[in-house]
Amino acid sequence: MDLSLLTRRSDTEWWIEPRPPMRVPGIIYASEGLVKEMDAKVYEQVANVAALPGIERASYAMPDAHWGYGFPIGGVAAFDADRGGVVSAGGVGFDISCGVRLLHTGLTATQFEPLAKRAADELSRSVPAGVGSVGRVHLDAAEMDAMLAGGARWAVERGYGDEADLERIEERGCMSGAKADEVSDHAKKRQRDEMGTLGSGNHYLEVQRVVQVFDPKVAAAFRLRENDIVVSIHCGSRGLGHQIGTEFLKRMAVAASQYGIDLPDRELACAPIDSPLGQSYLGAMRAAINCALANRQIITHLVRRAFASLAPEAGLTLLYDVSHNTCKVESHQLDGRLKQLFVHRKGATRAFGPGHPDLPPVFASIGQPVLIGGTMGTASYVLVGERGGLERSFGSSCHGAGRSMSRHAAVRQWRGREVVDDLARRGILVRSPSSRGVAEEAPGAYKDVTAVVDAAERAGLSRKVARLEPLVCIKG
C-alpha cells in the first residue's frame, strides 16, 4: 500500500481521511512494514466500508488485513440501526463464526513427546477432515433445528462435553436470536454429513507446546506455563454457514437498489438492519454461529476421547473459544452515550479488556483470551484484551497471520511431501489427506504472525501472553 495515501497518527495507527462518499475515516492499525506489505485493495475496501449507511466512528483494519470480499479480511465496522445502519453478509463472510478454541491437556512436553506419533495418527483417525470426509453425528430435522437454536449448549446436553465448557465460550456457547426457520433446506442438507468435521484449507487441529510466556500474571490466570501441552481447534460453521453466506450474498446484492444502497462492490452486499431481509439474515447468521459452536464442541469431544486412549492421565479443559467472522450486537460508548451497535468482525477477533460486563467471571478482572493462529511451521499466540480497546477498535484485534502468497503461487513454489518432511525434521508431525493441500498451506505462504501480534500490542488492541509452537498438525 502506498503510505502517501494515509495520514500517520502514530507508528501503528494510519488514517484514510474521509472524503465523499466515506462517512467516517478509515483506520488501519499496523506497523509501517505491515502497511507497506498490505495489498492496495485493502485501502479500497476500507474506504468502501466507510461509505456504508449508519457506520459509526470508523472503518477499521487490523494488522493482518488483506484483500477480502467486500470487507477486507481483518475488517471491523459497527452500525447503528437507528441511523439506517446495515448488516452485510460480505462483512461476515462464507465461514460464519470460523474461530479457534484452546484446550489445556494437563500434560507437559516431556510427557507428550513419546506419544506424539500415536497422537498424530489417533487424532487424524478421530476427527474427520477434508473433502469427502463424513461426520459421525447425523441430525434429523428436529435435532438440526435444536442444534441451530442451542449451539454448544445443545451439544453439551447431548453428551458432547461438560457444562463447565460453556462458561469458556463466547455468548456462553449459545447465540441468542438464532432462527432455524431462516436457514434454508439447502443449508441444512449441506450440513447433514458435516457435524463434527474439521473442513480444509486453513482449518486445523494442532497439538502445541507453550514455548514462551510474556505476561506471567495473565498466563497464570489462563493456567498457561512454559512446556505445557495444549490443543487448538480452528474451524467454523461448515457447509451450513457457507450456504447461508452464498444465499444471502445474492439476496442482498439483488435487493440493494430497492433499499437505495449504492454498492461500489457487489461483494459488500448488505441490507438495512431493520428490513425484513436484514432481520432474516441476522436470524440465519446467528443460527450459523450456533452451528460453529456446536461443531467445535463435538470436535472437542472427539479429541478428548482420543487423548483418553493415549494418555488416561490427561484432562482436556477449555481455556476459551473465540470467533472471528461474525456480526454481534454490542453496547458501546458513542459521544458519551451507550448505544447498541451491530459490530461486524470479518477475520477479526473480539478482544474485550478487563472490566467488560460480557466477560465470564473468571476473566472479568483480566480480560479475555484472544487466540491467534499462525502457520503449521511457525507459532500461534494467546493474547489478552486490553483496556481502551473498546475506544480503539470496538474491542477487536487481529485473527491470524494472513496469507502473503496466493495458493496458486504456493503450489508452484513448494511440494507437499517436502513441506511435510521438512516439518518432521523440525519435530512437527503433519497429517493431511492431500499433498497439494499441504503445499498451499506451506508456512512460507503466510505473513509473519509475530509481526502481526506485535503490531496489535503496540496499537493497544491486545497484549501478548504466550507463544505456542506446533508439535502435531492435522489438516483437511
Binding site: Y69, D95, R190, L249, K250, G437
Partner: protein
C-alpha cells in the same frame, strides 16, 4: 473474426487468500463449462474424475455475472451433498436461465487426493464478457 477459432480452455488466476477460476470458449455456455472444469481443478486433477453419473442442474439469475456465480455455487452444493466430483458438463443458457448436466463420480480420497474444499463462488473479479476475438470469458474468485 469468427468464433470457430476460439478454443475451450480453463485456467486459475491468483488471488490473495483464495483462487480464481476462469473459463474461455466460443460461446457463453462453453465458457461456463470451462469455468466448471476450473472449479473441479481447484480440488483435484479433473482428468482423474470419471464422468459416470449425471446430475441435472438449473438456475436463474438477473445477469450473466450472477448466473455464473449461481452455476458454480450449484456445483459446489451438489459436490458437498452428493460427495461427488464432476469432470464433464453440458450447459445451455436461454435468457436468464441455465440448464445443465454435470457428470462425475463419488469422491475417492485416495485416487482424487482432494486438496481443498470450496466454500462458495464469490463476486470478486467477476466477469462474463465477450472479447473482440469472439471468445467468451467467464471468471470469478472462489472462497476456499
Amino acid at each position: 473474426m469468427t468464433s470457430s477459432v476460439v478454443s475451450n480452455t480453463w485456467e486459475h488466476f491468483a488471488h490473495g487468500a483464495d483462487i480464481g477460476v476462469r473459463g474461455v470458449g466460443p460461446s457463453r455456455a462453453a465458457a461456463f463449462e470451462q469455468a466448471a472444469l476450473a472449479l473441479t481443478a481447484v480440488i483435484t486433477d479433473a482428468k482423474s474424475v470419471r464422468p459416470e453419473t449425471p446430475v441435472a442442474i438449473a438456475c436463474d439469475a438477473p445477469d450473466d455475472g450472477l448466473l455464473l456465480v449461481d452455476w458454480l455455487n450449484a456445483l459446489v452444493y451438489e459436490m458437498a451433498t452428493r460427495h461427488m466430483l464432476f469432470s464433464a458438463f453440458v450447459v445451455s443458457i436461454e435468457g436468464s436461465r441455465l440448464e445443465a448436466t454435470a457428470w462425475g463420480e463419488p469422491v475417492d480420497r485416495v485416487r482424487h487426493e482432494p486438496a481443498v474444499e470450496i466454500k462458495g463462488a464469490t463476486y470478486t473479479a467477476l466477469r462474463v464478457e465477450r472479447g473482440a476475438d469472439g471468445a467468451w470469458l467467464a471468471q470469478c474468485v472462489v472462497d476456499v
